[in-house]
Each structure stands twice: as structure tokens, then as C-alpha cells.
């Protein structure tokens, strides 16, 4: 298929772009250090004495991603706009959608790669005990989907500006909203004055609420649908923004 060939070409180029700069290595090292530190020092992996990764390892992912994913996504469109290659890319015989999906996939694959590199912890927990590896796998899947959702939000903010810093900050704020909507202290605060249906509505927008199921090993179609529709919606918004920016 021509469409997939175009998407593949763009994905390949974008992945290459990550690894031709130190960004990829810096990102991976920081991500792995953070994972290690929080799991063992803050999450108390050993003290818990549980053969599970949910409370000590996956628990932190929404918060790591809050800063790390916008850092990966911020350059996607902002850089193209700044350097002027956007004009080159969008006058090639490809659709805007192919470009958006190609770029998104490249970053998502990159995030997946970083996630896979946390495999030593899976080996550790298997060595120390006998965890349910299905649950762990579900946790990884959920984590990757959540990263994709954050990334698609970064795509929107990146398409809005030529300044990567602005893109980064705006997408952190938006992602923070998606976390806080399901963060227990915030829910408590809301319960004080809002009616229960409103609290429910707000928490159902949270990535934490939907990530919870994956951590417990539950593959709920609603959670899957939440992440996938958030990604699709954001990518669609990106295409609208790109189009309206060009229309001037």
C-alpha cells in the first residue's frame, strides 16, 4: 500500500532523527534512572515483599511521562516549522494524515523502546519471586498506551507553535490535568462540593483511572477505548491545526 509506504518512510526518518542526536540517549538514561530510583528507593520494592510491579513500578509512570513525553513530542512539528522543512514535507506527494501518523508512530515506537529497556526489573522480580507475568504485561501495555496519549497531546501543542519550550509547557499543563482529574487528593477535594455525577465525569477523563485497570492486569475495553480515542482525537486536532495554520 502506498499509504503505508509513505508512513513508513516518515517514521523511519523520524526515528533516525532521534538517534542522530544525543536526545534519544539522554532520554533513555534519564527514564531508566528515574524508574530505578523510584521503584527501589521511593516505592520500596524490597520492603513490600510482593512479587508484583504495580505498586512500586507502574505507579510512577503517569508522573514520569508528565515531563518526559512532552520532551520527546515537543520537537515533532515545532522544529519543522522553525527550520522551514514543514513547507518541504507538506508539498511532497503525501497527505497531512500520513505525515502526522508517521511522526506520531516514530515517537511512540521510541517511547516503547525506552519502556522495553526497563526489562531488568521484570527479570529481577521473576528471580526473587513468582509474579503473574500476564499482569506485568498488561501493565506495560497500559503504560505504553498512556505514553501514546500524552504524546498525541504533545503533537497538538507542537503543531501550534514554532517554539519548542512553549510547546513543552503547554502540553505538560494539559497532561497534568489528565492526571489530576483522577488523583486521589484532588478527587477528595472535588467530592466536598461537586455532585457525585460531576466527580465521576471528571475522574473518567483521567489517565490514572484508566491506567489502574491495566496495573491490576485487567484489559477493560473501556480503558483501551479511552486511550485510543484520546490518541485519535488529538491527532485529528493536530491535522486541523496544521491545516488552519497553512490557510493563514
Amino acid at each position: 500500500m502506498n499509504t503505508w509506504a509513505n508512513i513508513k518512510t516518515i517514521t523511519k526518518r523520524e526515528l533516525g532523527a532521534y538517534f542522530s542526536s544525543p536526545l534519544a540517549f539522554v532520554f533513555i538514561v534519564i527514564f531508566l534512572l528515574l524508574c530505578g530510583f523510584f521503584t527501589f528507593m521511593v516505592g520500596g520494592f524490597f520492603e513490600r515483599g510482593e512479587a508484583s510491579l504495580s505498586a512500586s513500578f507502574f505507579l510512577w509512570h503517569p508522573w514520569f511521562y508528565l515531563f518526559l513525553v512532552p520532551a520527546v513530542g515537543m520537537r515533532l512539528w515545532a522544529e519543522e516549522r522553525r527550520v522551514g522543512t514543514l513547507e518541504l514535507l507538506l508539498t511532497m506527494p503525501i497527505t497531512t494524515w500520513q505525515a502526522i501518523v508517521g511522526k506520531f508512530l516514530a515517537s511512540w515506537i521510541f517511547l516503547g523502546l525506552a519502556l522495553i529497556l526497563t526489562f531488568p526489573i521484570v527479570i529481577t522480580v521473576n528471580y526473587l519471586g513468582s509474579p503473574d507475568n500476564g499482569v506485568i504485561l498488561a501493565g506495560y501495555l497500559g503504560s505504553w498506551l498512556m505514553a501514546g496519549a500524552y504524546l498525541s497531546i504533545s503533537c497538538i501543542t507542537s503543531a501550534m507553535t514554532r517554539n519548542q519550550v512553549v510547546s513543552f509547557i503547554v502540553s505538560v499543563v494539559i497532561c497534568l490535568f489528565f492526571i489530576l482529574a483522577g488523583f486521589t487528593p484532588v478527587i477528595r477535594l472535588l467530592e466536598g462540593w461537586a455532585s457525585p455525577w460531576l466527580v465521576d465525569a471528571i475522574t473518567s477523563f483521567s489517565v490514572i483511572t484508566h491506567f489502574d485497570g491495566f496495573q491490576k492486569g485487567l484489559l477493560d475495553s473501556r480503558d483501551l477505548l479511552f486511550f485510543l480515542s484520546l490518541i485519535l482525537f488529538s491527532l485529528f486536532s493536530t491535522s486541523v491545526i496544521l491545516r488552519s495554520r497553512r490557510a493563514g
Partner: protein, 319 residues
């Protein structure tokens, strides 16, 4: 190949392009002239499909750039202003990417890349990162990208900007050579380029076409076209000016230089024709002036350009 009809683009309240129509056929090289901000780049961006027109239409090879944008884009090679390229790639990687996205695979891709590397003299920097290239090389890299799929239509936004004189010469030759088989539009500020390369030129100002013709035709519009400069001996300024002004063909006489031995005058014709020089020669014979120098000016493009695009200021510094 390229057909532009009533093309207009409005940014906010500004009409950047205001009802432009023209067409370019295969074998033509169209020069696109105009002051900064006249709407050259905007027009080119609409032709290449980067921005949609507010009204009007562009078709390339029969494909409307909005309705059938992908088919139209396949036929176009585009060099945007400032020659952007992915700074994180090597020249080789960048050209490979462009070839691939143009649908070239395998040996076709390899051949295409080799061909443009040779045409654009990029061998020396092939494995260098685009970021470290000098402006001339970056420009040529982006130019190479625009011809990698051997397109029927080339749209070049200031292709010689930032090049040294040798490179400019090479690029012009390249454009002229390719112009034999393709339809080319290129924009420029440099008027000598129009003479060197174009088969036709369009001058646009404030979003409108103000002149359209071959470089010769444009030159004819100049007040200079057919003006005669003569150095006359044995005559005083006042007399020469008076006699010359009485000539039927003369519109205006300007004294450029005056010294005891004679005067240097320039006579502007009412209409550009070769006759004026003759009549001046016979006049000076009749009046017994010694004619030391006599030549007919060709029109000057820069003067035409200025008269057309800034009509108010030209009269002041005209001699």
C-alpha cells in the same frame, strides 16, 4: 503545464495576492519579479499546494492543486525560500528520504540520488550533516531534492539567493538547460538573471501582475529604450538643447555634461525606434556640429522595474 486563474490570497485584512492569472507551458522559463512582500512566495506556495488559495484556482498538468493535490504535487519539484533541509540528516540521507517519499525504490532511487548529486556538485559533502553545510551547499542540497524525481514542473523560490557568483552561474545554466524540457517558474530579485535565463517574465507588485512579457518586451517599456546619447563639439549648451528639442521624434532632452569644447546630451524618444539617431546625426551635420559620439540605449530592466513598482520616486533621481 501550469495554469493560474484569478488566484487570490487574503491574510487577515491584507490581500497578499490579488487576482493573478497566467500560464506556463513546457519549454518555458518564467521569471517572477517583484519587490519584497509583493506576493511572489505566497503565489508559489499556492502553486505547490502548501497553502490553499482564498479564491481562484491553480492546475498543474491538468490537476487542480486543491481537488487533486497529491497528483499535482507529484509533478512538481519545489525549492522553498531559504532552502530548508532536515539539519539532523546527512546530505545522502536527506536525498534518500526525499527520493523514497517521491515513491522511488531500489535501483531507481539509487540512480536518482546519484544523478542529482552529480548535477548539483554534492559529492564532496555527501556524508556530511546538513547542519554543518555552508549556505551554498545547503541551497544546492535543497535544489537537488527538487529535481530528484525529474519533475515536469519546477517551482523555485529564489534559487540563486546566497550563492557565490560561480554557483549562481552554474544554477542559472542548470535552470536554462532544464527549461528546455520542463515548465519552470522561478522568483528572483536579480534582474540580470531574467535576461540570462527567462523566456518570459512577470512583474508583480502588491499582489497584482503589473507587467508580463519577454525580457525584450519589458525593456521596451523603459523610457530609456531607444534614447540616444550624443557628444557634440562646437556648440553651446543652450543652442544644442533648443535645436534638439525641436526634433519631431524627441520627447525630452537632458544635458549630461558641459565643457568649453562641447556638450554631452541624451535625447529621449517619444516612441522607441531606431530613427532618432539618424535624425540627430543629420541635424548635427546641418548645424556643423562635430559629432564625437553617438549611441542608442537599450531599455534597462531595472529602470522598468522601478518605474512600475514605485512610480512616485523614479522621476526624482532621473537625470
Amino acid at each position: 503545464m501550469i495554469k493560474v486563474q484569478n488566484l487570490a490570497k487574503v491574510f487577515g485584512t491584507k490581500r497578499a495576492v490579488d487576482g493573478i492569472s497566467f500560464s506556463v507551458e513546457r519549454g518555458e522559463v518564467l521569471g517572477f519579479l517583484g519587490p519584497n512582500g509583493a506576493g511572489k512566495s505566497t503565489t508559489m506556495r499556492m502553486i505547490t499546494g502548501f497553502i490553499p488559495p482564498t479564491s481562484g484556482s491553480v492546475s498543474v498538468g491538468g490537476f487542480d492543486t486543491v481537488e487533486h493535490s497529491i497528483e499535482a504535487r507529484r509533478m512538481i519539484g519545489y525549492l522553498p525560500e531559504n532552502a530548508p533541509a532536515y539539519t539532523d540528516m546527512t546530505v545522502h540521507g536527506f536525498l534518500n528520504f526525499c527520493a523514497e517519499i517521491r515513491g522511488l525504490r531500489g535501483s531507481a532511487k539509487k540512480d536518482a540520488v546519484e544523478r542529482v548529486v552529480e548535477t548539483c556538485f554534492l559529492q564532496a559533502v555527501l556524508h556530511q550533516s546538513v547542519e554543518t553545510l555552508s549556505k551554498g551547499y545547503r541551497h544546492r542540497t535543497c535544489f537537488a531534492q527538487s529535481i530528484i524525481h525529474d519533475p515536469d514542473v519546477l517551482v523555485l523560490d529564489e534559487p540563486t539567493d546566497g550563492l557565490d557568483p560561480n554557483q549562481k552561474h552554474e544554477v542559472r545554466q542548470l535552470i536554462r538547460r532544464m527549461g528546455e524540457k520542463k515548465a519552470i517558474i522561478f522568483s528572483t530579485h536579480i534582474l540580470e538573471e531574467v535576461d540570462a535565463v527567462c523566456s518570459r517574465a512577470i512583474i508583480i507588485d502588491r499582489g497584482r501582475i503589473v507587467a508580463n512579457g519577454t525580457p525584450q518586451e519589458l525593456r521596451q517599456k523603459s523610457e530609456w529604450a531607444g534614447a540616444v546619447t550624443a557628444r557634440l563639439g562646437g556648440v553651446r549648451n543652450g543652442v544644442a538643447k533648443e535645436k534638439l528639442s525641436q526634433l519631431v521624434l524627441a520627447k525630452r532632452v537632458v544635458v549630461l555634461e558641459e565643457n568649453p569644447s562641447g556638450v554631452l546630451v541624451r535625447v529621449y524618444p517619444k516612441q522607441a525606434s531606431g530613427e532618432l539617431a539618424w535624425t540627430i546625426a543629420s541635424l548635427s551635420q546641418a548645424e556643423k556640429w562635430t559629432l564625437q559620439e553617438l549611441h542608442t540605449e537599450e531599455g534597462r530592466l531595472d529602470e522598468v522595474f522601478r518605474t512600475i513598482t514605485m512610480p512616485d520616486t523614479v522621476t526624482e533621481d532621473k537625470q
